[in-house]
């Protein structure tokens, strides 16, 4: 059950905006476009099913070069 108390708490805690729509059609704003979406589940599910922060196993700056020098943590690496 949605109560005003919990809605108020969530707004204050996370700074999110909660309003009632004019046409009674609710939804969710999840990016800077301001577009109201039907669901957020597509965004959130990945947090629990894949890695929270993914990285490419090969650093991006090395992918397109057959050979390059790269300075990392005071080491000069030759990447061939």
């Amino acid at each position: 059950m949605i109560t005003n108390g919990i809605l108020q708490e969530l707004q204050e805690r996370y700074g999110i905006g909660i309003t009632i729509s004019d046409n009674n059609q609710g939804g969710f704003i999840v990016d800077s476009s301001g577009k109201v979406k039907e669901t957020t589940l597509d965004l959130i599910q990945n947090d629990f099913t894949t890695h929270q922060y993914s990285i490419n196993p090969t650093p991006v700056h090395l992918q397109n070069f057959s050979s390059s020098y790269y300075k990392y943590d005071n080491m000069l690496l030759l990447v061939a």
Binding site: I6, E9, I18, N24, G26, G27, V30, S32, T40
Partner: protein, 210 residues
């Protein structure tokens, strides 16, 4: 059920916690580190709490220009099994997703528009960080709804990270992520001081007692 958790923090805060109990911040800044909703956070692993305390201490020094020690508090948490939402348990995770889906429908039907971007300046953050903050806001909002309605006192989950700052950074240059293994951080989020039955400092500054 007894759970042991480690909390890394600045030494000044640690003293205050031992004296008055953990404090629950009502307002959280946009870059908050609340991953499982409102509550006090513990790591299952002592080493991660130590890393977190050190990170906080370094941040404090950068910001204020003066040093501040850090400590790790070991706390015993006692909670009824039915008041624990263990998201590592597939049944519990399924339960959370079902709850989430139903709550979304309920909010939509009631005509609520929830703006998870409010107050966030997208120019201030990298694209990845901007979306991460929004995802965290969403996840925490629904977890807080669920905790509130179902009276959960503890939420646990093991997050994965490929490239945490505490890891030996050279590993990624040798493609260690290709092993299919990643770093894990099991976090415990506790919503009330009532179930934290004992706390003690197990590390402070240079002296390691544990």
């Amino acid at each position: 059920m007894n759970i042991l958790g480690y909390h890394g923090t600045l030494s000044n805060y640690a003293k205050s916690i031992l004296q008055d109990g953990y404090k629950f911040n009502q307002k959280i800044n946009p870059e908050h580190d609340h991953w499982l909703g409102h509550g006090i956070y513990f790591y299952v692993h002592y080493e991660l709490a130590l890393w977190w305390g050190r990170t906080k201490s370094n941040a404090f020094k950068r910001k204020r220009g003066i040093g501040e020690g850090y400590s790790v508090i070991k706390s015993s948490i006692q909670c009824d099994k039915e008041k624990i939402l263990d998201l590592d348990n597939p049944i519990h995770l399924d339960g959370f997703f079902s709850y989430y889906k139903n709550k979304e429908l309920e909010l939509k039907k009631a005509g609520y528009i929830i703006d998870f971007t409010k107050g966030l300046d997208c120019q201030k953050y990298s694209e990845d960080n901007y979306h991460r903050i929004i995802r965290e806001r969403i996840r925490c909002t629904y977890l807080d709804f669920m905790k509130h309605e179902r009276n959960y006192e503890v939420v646990m989950y093991t997050f994965s990270k490929d490239d945490p700052s505490y890891a030996n950074s050279i590993h990624k240059y040798y493609g260690m992520a290709n092993t299919g293994l990643s770093y894990k951080e099991k976090q415990i989020c506790v919503t009330t001081n009532d179930i934290i039955i004992k706390s003690e400092i197990c590390f402070s500054h240079e002296e390691e007692i544990i």
